[in-house]
Symmetry: C2
Subunit: 379 residues, 2 copies
Amino acid sequence: MTHLPGIPVALEDALDIVIPTIRDLHFLEQWRPFFQRYHLIVIQDGDPDRKIQVPPGFDVELYTRRDIERLLGDHAWCISFKDSACRCFGFMVSKKKYIYTIDDDCFVAKDPSGADISALEQHIRNLLTPSTPLFFNTLYDPYASGADFVRGYPFSLREGCPTAISHGLWLNIPDYDAPTQMVKPLERNTRYVDAVLTIPKGTLYPMCGMNLAFNRETIGPAMYFGLMGDGQPLGRYDDMWAGWCTKVICDHLGWGVKTGLPYIWHSKASNPFVNLRKEFKGIFWQEDIVPFFQGARLSPAATTAEACYLELAEQVEQKLGHIDAYFARLAHAMVAWVEAWRLLNPAPADAEPAAVAAAVPKQEAAAAPAARAKGRRVG
Amino acid sequence: MTHLPGIPVALEDALDIVIPTIRDLHFLEQWRPFFQRYHLIVIQDGDPDRKIQVPPGFDVELYTRRDIERLLGDHAWCISFKDSACRCFGFMVSKKKYIYTIDDDCFVAKDPSGADISALEQHIRNLLTPSTPLFFNTLYDPYASGADFVRGYPFSLREGCPTAISHGLWLNIPDYDAPTQMVKPLERNTRYVDAVLTIPKGTLYPMCGMNLAFNRETIGPAMYFGLMGDGQPLGRYDDMWAGWCTKVICDHLGWGVKTGLPYIWHSKASNPFVNLRKEFKGIFWQEDIVPFFQGARLSPAATTAEACYLELAEQVEQKLGHIDAYFARLAHAMVAWVEAWRLLNPAPADAEPAAVAAAVPKQEAAAAPAARAKGRRVG
């Protein structure tokens, strides 16, 4: 942190932790020293009548499907049901600047010295220091302690760009697709790579939602996890979809995406047979989706994540619609998501982008702040 | 190495080690277990009458300035004098498929377990396994042991691309420019990052020549370290120049560039005051050079490194000539380099690219194989 002295490593008042779950949250016990000072938003997937157990002492706001439907009304369909994609509802109801989202089968990992890794602290460092998407630094994050820009790195680029996303990794169970899980059932990730790096501009990556932080104020309105799960032909592509959309938008708007540290301990491999059923269409479709995103261009008029996202939705319908009727539905859901975002996060009148203003009925926008206070407080 | 079983980790008959030096090669003692089976090409810079000491038992072929002038005749001016850029002459006289080049102030580094790192072995693994420049894999090198492609990585891209360059890193003294050296005289690189990664297509990086391996058969003719040192306005940009040119060409031809492991131990910081004098023009010029390379496009007709390099030379003269007369000279030197390469490496008549065939007089090309046997054998 030599370039940016005095970076706080805790942001209790500026960051919410979002957890999608269908089970009791015993995993929080291990995270207590790290999460207890933060506000937690839990999205309870599946049966809304089930009572989820939360360890005492946490500040938890919990939403079930019933809450989502009550708060979003006829926009609720854009939030996935019976799929961890539902987590993005938590991004929408938060009022904080930053979000950290983590899966409930992820535990505290240890660094090579045996010390517990404070994943959240590292994510905050990643988000509060600039990114370097325009030129690759061979010693990785130049803002890390003991590192810098190497010889030959243009001085005009050393201020970097604002960081929008911090993508953390996983020790133990790697995030493999079903075919790879089946071929390598015993493979475990034991390699601790002590690096954070910026994914260069113009390069796509597979973003995993298991251990992810982002700046909600900038990229939040594009962090939609798509239509997955119940009633949809696809699962396990929620985070991929969000990753591809947000990377294209970050590249367009000059924001950075980092990957690498911090690690969490991913405890349990999901069932590869179930996974294959969820993801097999995606395995075919991604062969078209990835080139689509690699070639996607946004207009200079799109200067906010919302405006970019609406342009992208239009392109999805036009250019991916031929693959399957699903993509037209997904494109409509992307628009519904932005409308719902604006419903719960009304922009100050003078800063409201025209496209979104037109899409959101005024009376709904006005009703939103009152509506969102109705999440159940737990713990 | 799970994807590519049976990769050899030694290539005695297919790799030469190139070392530029002005001093006795005592540093080889530490490398004896790793280098002794290989053929070494030493480019003795500076005074050609000085007798360089080489530890016994190494297979060394040594060239002085006098040898360079004798072998290249009126093309010798393209090889830098009094600058480690002269190393590229060694790339030209080699007849092997692969080159490893290392500086004489670089020693064997240790991994976190305390074991000696066989840098050459790791470079060979890097070169013999594919690269993945078209999509970023978040678990780094998918061909490394215990790793693979993560969920969301398109299956059509998992065969990867041929690797042209393996860029290794440095523990202890980092490769900083003079201003950074001056500001942080005590900074040492102690972070062992256990990763190899492909630098994505379209992204430039600062290539350091200190610990570098490449496929001479593919990218060799573009691995020219420019005009530096004696009589030139610039130093310490030799490897940067080669790195920018070769990256643009690798991107065009579908070849990969890796960076990361292996580490060597860089023992000694060069004098920052001397360095500043050598590089200060480069610090200004790189602000124009980098955008030039970021925007450089090669024609579909350019299907070899030579053909690409000649196109690039033309663009350098046209688009960087306005900065300083140096760039026209450099562009001419780039052409002279390709001519000299062809002189020492005559292509089979049927495979000879037209542009180069026209540039190299036939009698010189024919004379080359005899001429090059005259390097002094030492040790």
